[in-house]
Amino acid sequence: MAKTHVTMTINGQEVEALVEPRTLLIHFLREQMLLTGPHIGCETSHCGACTVDMNDMSVKSCTVFAVQANGANITTIEGMAAADGTLSALQEGFRMMHGLQCGYCTPGMITRAHRLLIENPDPSEDEIRMGIAGNICRCTGYQNIVKAIQYAAAKINGVPFHEAAE
């Protein structure tokens, strides 16, 4: 089976590779690009652990072929922190608000929330919950994930973060 030549920009770096058409983007990222931040959870496009940003869209990379991403601009969790290691507002929020327990869903959560906050910089709690409805967390019950995203939104908007009373 002939392989297809693809080029894409991943976390700001141009890469090129040969892929089989049937190679899923998640397998390409993890096994050929050695970016193991995006996780394989359900493999059936339900859980969102494999979420990456592709051409300004949050996508489940288990349900996209790498050849479909030819020419695309892709950001994974590895591209979120600054080059000097400074955490992004969302990464800091997840850390400060205890937005993770086992951490398996976290790369997908942060990558999805990254696009959500670009499209809607000041979301309500409902909008956050609907915005991350494609990402499943089996540890936290989502309370602290929502707080982490609220923390990040406040930081990005330069306003003080007030934790809502429970």
Binding site: H27, T44, G134
Partner: protein, 288 residues
């Protein structure tokens, strides 16, 4: 889960895509958003030898107005429909429905054309397209033709599309500002198909219902146009008697599968409940 091997094509025009489909025959499948096809390829329930990706055809994506008709390119995504000002103004029942489909990530890629052409009775857009009396423009190697949504659905995964044809656009008459509308969907969780769902559009004048159309999702082998139910509303003042009659007429035409979403009896009753809620909400939106 890794799909079987296939050859990949990314044509840049619809003509090129249908020429490829004609040349490659039954072993070729068009790929739209991929969120129905890729999962079944991963489980090897589908193993096309050739995949024709329609994602590179710019002409198939976008929304425009032609006179009193809104024309939606088949590769327009659910996310596009949720964010389009033209759709919000002229066909607000569409984003109300799109918001209930799958989840944010899937809505970025899932397309209107894929949703209507797949023939899956669980998809939400087909019943809505029947309710809105949409017309699908389809293209094959032999040329272009149009098919009414109301004549498109023949069985589960079985539509009026011939092998090698693709849907290129969907034409829908703009709704009047006075039209009441609602899409009500019962589902177990985000991302699930409907246990039952109902689309309603209706017009009111002088306290009487002057026109109505009703579509039902996932309660039969195909989406349903509930014509008797709609007829029970027209001419009435949308009082309890008329609505009870419409709900009974809708329940009478369902034939849902017994699955994890419930028994046929339960899903039929839920179709009635969704219809009742949709009528109530449409009434609050109708002017006239």
């Amino acid at each position: 889960m890794i799909p079987g091997r296939f050859d990949y094509y990314r044509p840049s025009s619809a003509q090129e895509a249908v020429a490829l489909l004609a040349k490659l025959g039954e072993d070729a499948r068009p790929l739209a958003g991929g969120h129905s096809l890729i999962p079944v390829m991963k489980t090897r329930l589908a193993a096309p030898e050739h995949l024709i990706d329609l994602g590179g055809i710019a002409d198939l994506r976008g929304v425009k107005v032609e006179g009193d008709t809104v024309v939606i390119g088949a590769m327009t995504t659910q996310h596009d429909l949720l964010t389009s000002k033209v759709i919000a103004e002229h066909l607000p029942i569409i984003p109300e429905t799109s918001a209930l489909i799958a989840d944010p990530q899937i809505r970025y890629l899932g397309t209107l054309g894929g949703n209507v052409a797949n023939g899956d009775p669980g998809n939400d857009m087909p019943a809505l397209m029947m309710c809105l009396d949409a017309t699908f423009t389809v293209l094959g190697a032999g040329g272009e033709r149009t098919i009414k949504a109301r004549e498109f659905y023949l069985g589960t995964y079985y539509t009026a599309l011939e092998t090698g044809e693709i849907v290129t656009s969907i034409r829908i008459k703009a709704m009047s500002k006075a039209t009441g509308y609602a899409y009500e969907k019962l589902k177990r969780k985000v991302g699930d198909y409907a246990t039952a769902a109902a689309a309603v559009v209706l017009s009111v004048s002088g306290g009487k219902c002057t026109s109505a159309a009703i579509g039902l999702t996932n309660v039969a082998e195909t989406p349903l146009l509930a014509e008797d139910a709609a007829a029970a509303l027209v001419g009435s003042s949308l009082d309890k008697v008329a609505i009870d009659k419409a709900v009974a007429a809708a329940e009478a035409i369902t034939n849902p599968a017994h699955d994890a979403r419930g028994t046929p009896q339960y899903r039929t009753k839920m179709a009635g409940v969704m219809l009742r809620r949709a009528i109530a909400r449409a009434m609050t939106r109708a002017h006239g």
